[in-house]
Symmetry: C2
Subunit: 334 residues, 2 copies
């Protein structure tokens, strides 16, 4: 069943059929409804390939993320997909894992599918070494590249980020105001947002005249068990701390477990703050205070900007910053 069949059955030319397909105004109401009826009863669906061949756009954007089973990114995928679909766009998903070469490979793969744009979700796509981002800046010459929670200053690359610096700064200030002095910071990886988070933490300490101690800034895999172990060994080796800030809820979960293991009262003896405000934050006892990084807002903003770009609008903001929100639950004092 193709456009010829429909045109034959409807007794019009294929051009007319194509016109009703594309909502052209130059079709009389009579013909339009007739053709539509024929399409309906014959169960016709246009062939996307033939269409793409002619149109040179496929109403599809590629989404890349490092790992869709990370709850944060899983949410991002969900929201992006929802928003795109709302605008009549499909999404093709690629999960790259950590490897840089795989990132590139998948990126090229999506490009070769002639997607209309590319959305990279998560800060893992912007490398510390500028050379490693060349493939992005090159691609941006052809189609818009949208970064969700990552930033790269290059033409054709647009970013929507959460204000991690302010969020961490604010969080640390809250802890200090509530009387905490020895704040540990656990992070899982270094990236665009990672750098900002750390700076926020350090700036807050500095402003309050507290010392910044290297041994209080520790890397740890995103795993509650690992975080707990790390804290136990830190405590055993004589470190003292009365609060733990984290770059991810899963680390904060580990901190709560550590407190339980050592019989520390939360938040009095140990305050804990998560990050991303994921489902995990409501699974511990007491429930985690966390920083909501507004992933939904990031995603809607990203798609909104993308649509403007695809519609040829000028002056689309190259970078949008969205404020985070501290969510007070039970692991911090007010």
């Amino acid at each position: 069943m193709n456009i010829y069949d429909v045109s034959a059955r409807a007794g019009v030319s294929i051009a007319t059929v194509s016109r009703v397909l594309n909502g052209s105004p130059n079709v009389s109401e009579r013909t339009r409804s007739h053709v539509l009826a024929v399409m309906e009863e014959s169960g016709y669906t246009p062939n996307i390939f033939a269409r793409g061949l002619g149109l040179d756009t496929i109403k599809t954007v590629g989404i890349m993320c490092s790992d869709s089973s990370d709850p944060y990114l899983a949410n991002a995928i969900y929201f992006l997909e929802r928003e795109l679909r709302g605008c009549g766009y499909d999404s093709v998903l690629c999960c790259t894992g950590a490897s840089l070469t795989r990132k590139r490979q998948y990126f090229d793969l999506l490009l070769s599918k002639r997607v209309d744009a590319m959305i990279l979700a998560g800060s893992k796509f912007v490398e510390m070494n500028p050379d490693d981002n060349a493939y992005l800046t090159e691609a941006a010459a052809g189609i818009p590249i949208m970064l969700v929670n990552g930033f790269l200053d290059a033409p054709g690359i647009y970013s929507t980020v959460c204000d991690d610096h302010a969020a961490m700064y604010d969080t640390a200030c809250r802890l200090i105001r509530s009387g905490k002095k020895d704040i540990l910071y656990l992070y899982s990886s270094y990236s665009y947002s990672g750098v900002n988070k750390r700076r926020g933490y350090e700036d807050a300490l500095r402003v309050h005249g507290l010392p910044i101690r290297e041994e209080r800034i520790r890397r740890c895999d995103k795993d509650p068990g690992k975080a707990k172990e790390l804290l136990l060994s830190l405590a055993d080796s004589g470190s003292t701390f009365d609060a733990v800030m984290t770059s991810d809820d899963s680390l904060a979960v580990g901190a709560v477990k550590y407190a339980h293991a050592r019989g520390l009262s939360i938040p009095d003896q140990l305050a804990v703050v998560g990050y991303n405000n994921s489902t995990l934050s409501r699974c511990t006892d007491p429930e985690l205070s966390s920083v909501d990084t507004r992933i939904e807002a990031l995603c809607t903003d990203t798609v909104k900007k993308l649509m403007k770009i695809l519609n040829g609008e000028e002056n689309v903001a190259q970078k949008t910053t969205i404020p985070a929100e501290f969510v007070q639950r039970q692991t911090t004092k007010v």
Copy 2:
């Protein structure tokens, strides 16, 4: 840059270029490497649409899931995507939410993209009312429909499911063997797998001569807070129970919170078992015993079967059942 440019630069016909593109054996090694070199240096990438037009296959399968932010489905997406890509297939994702009409709508949308197959992840796609599945059985006439953790007996529809009945039966038996007599069952929704889970639970009680009491089988939203509230109110209204089985880890998390709230010791006074063995199961204190529903195995099996089908192999199993695995942690006695 298209196939004509390449053929001109390489001094061969477009047919030859196309042949090396498709790895046809009928090309001399000399020409092949020469053409490849030309492609490389001119940065040529074949146009997927033109290709699809000719080939009538796009090496793409549609994946539908109800909600990618559910950790279970997020994992499924990840594994499916990974396996498909390994076989040279792309995936187009659609998250439908709960609504049946949206399911249908998105389904048709993907169909119209001429995907080579459709994978439906999660048991929410098979409706209790057979009429509501007509759109699936119809579509199955055209392309293979793969169900991950759902079952529908119709030609062209293939299923890979976890043995939920056995899993629940086994879990209940373990609890009974460890001395539990009053086992509550919390489930979040009814579906193909939901029915089997419940039967497993009931059969185990029956075999051990324990009464099946309606008030011990309760529905609850997938939310720790809700589950905790429900249990509190049940306890307050005089229900007694010494173990809680669940259809999802998030409900089990709520049960642990309930135990904490009432000062019950786990697992002695209250045993708790999760389901799906998600990250949540390692976030509580004590950590959740849970049923691993082998989502990775389900996904790899699904894709493996799909490839067979797409390669025209006969006798592909219409239904594959994969055993679950009980994971003993801290909320149950051995």
